[in-house]
């Protein structure tokens, strides 16, 4: 069980890395690039940490890493081609999925044996907080700087009102769930 969790987390961070890489490839010379670069650096740090954990615990990495490589880059580049709002919206959806996934892992570990897994729990909590931070930062970016009109018109600071976002979010969440399921096993 522990190995599965570490495997899927490693795959997740690897995918997130590639998503940011795809976004930077398209939006690398725009105004939004420092923000994306900063978040990408944090993800790189997460990935490095998980590489260490996998090596330490002799966990097998998922066989589908090349697939997540291409898929992540494609998702990042594709969403970035929709403009910087598209990129930010994609990141928001992905970060939300990842946070939910980390939360469920934390719940599982707490149920099993909080004392035994303290280190891992602390690590996952820290990473989850980082991802939530990205999520919140970007929501503010979108609503306040990119789409203030929607907020002013509807007085509703929720991203779901933006046309097309619900569809994108649904697709990304289904994709993430499928990726998590497969990476745990394969």
């Amino acid at each position: 069980m522990l190995h599965r969790m570490m495997r899927v987390d490693h795959a997740g961070e690897y995918g997130a890395n590639r998503i940011y890489a795809g976004q930077m490839a398209v939006l690398g010379r725009t105004q939004i690039s420092p923000l994306i670069q900063e978040m990408w650096d944090q993800e790189k740090q997460h990935l490095r940490k998980f590489n260490e954990i996998l090596a330490e615990n002799r966990v097998r990495p998922t066989l589908l890493l090349p697939l997540w490589n291409i898929a992540g880059f494609a998702l990042g580049a594709g969403s970035a081609l929709l403009g910087k709002e598209g990129a930010m919206a994609c990141t928001v959806a992905v970060e939300e999925s990842i946070s939910e996934h980390y939360n469920s892992q934390i719940r599982t570990l707490m149920e099993k044996d909080p004392e035994k897994y303290t280190e891992l729990l602390q690590l996952i909590k820290e990473f989850r907080d980082d991802e939530m931070e990205h999520h919140d930062q970007l929501i503010i970016e979108i609503l306040v700087f990119a789409l203030p009109f929607y907020v002013l018109l509807t007085h509703d600071p929720s991203l779901l009102q933006v046309p097309g976002y619900q569809l994108m979010k649904a697709i990304i969440q289904v994709g993430c769930k499928a990726a998590i399921y497969i990476s745990e096993r394969l």
Partner: protein, 353 residues
Amino acid sequence: MAALIRGLRAGRALRGLGGVAVQGTVSLQCSNVRRGFHRAALLRLASDSKSDTSVPPPSYHEVHTAGESSSSSAQGESSEDAQPNTSFQDQSGEHGEDYETEEQLQARILTAALEFVPQHGWTVEAIAAAAETLGLSSASTGMFNNGAGDLVLHFVAQCNAQLAETLAEQNNQVQLGQSEAKKTAEFLKDAVETRLRMLIPYIDTWPQAMSILLLPHNIPDSLKHLSTMVDDIWYYAGDRSTDVNWYTRRAALTGIYNTTELVMVQDSSPDFEETWAFLDNRIKDVVNMANTAKQVQATGEAVVQGLMGAAITVTTQKMIQFPERNILALTIMSCLYFSDYMKEKCLACLSFT
């Protein structure tokens, strides 16, 4: 974990019986039930002693001893348990040191059976002969549902454990600075050779063992042993990769091990020199392939860069010569730059070393 499942199964059997003491008929079902009974008793006692309760409930104990005394010598374990019985009656509920689980007993029998393999081959006869030397009845082979498969898998597990120990010991020495770290190719060669040398005493009957390992119901276990062994070797060789290399390296080593094993069983040279030479060549091949892959990639990149450079130079010249073709030239150039950029990104993505 496996013991727990067996205990659960035994528990189900018990409930079917209603906990009545079994009289000693030697039908297979009966002996299965008795086995399950015995295991359930062992499991129950193990959990009892762990939770530090006092003497196990008398009905259990009574029935257990009744079951033991009525069991025919077919089980043969009663002789084993005559001594450790004292631990059952221990008020403090602790295990005695001479308490032996069924798994330990099975391991002892199988280890002893290895001596009879050159004579009887990898068969149930070897196990029966071993049981007799240990003072048990030859019908103890009924304990082994998988028969010869159990023997071969036990031997493989034992060899792998020995190999892991040797590698860990060597690793320790390197950590302590008492010996030099070997290069990867040499390390792999030595590890595989060490492991294959463990087959030498049984090399004449090893083809039989290999075919037993290939039986469909044995394949999951034999694959598990093989993959654990290969993982161990790479781990001690220093592999800490967390990408697709993890798989390519283990696949390569599995191939090397299997082919060398096949060469070994039909090798008749003194001390298997040909086998070790074959192993050496295979490892060199793999190392060569990795190097070649790197070279191909580097060459490919260089060629692509060269072509891009040439195309850009030509287009720039055309731009200067024919101003009216500027737009076309500009389009071509921007396409070239973009494709160059994409190519770099793709190569970076696909790099695997």
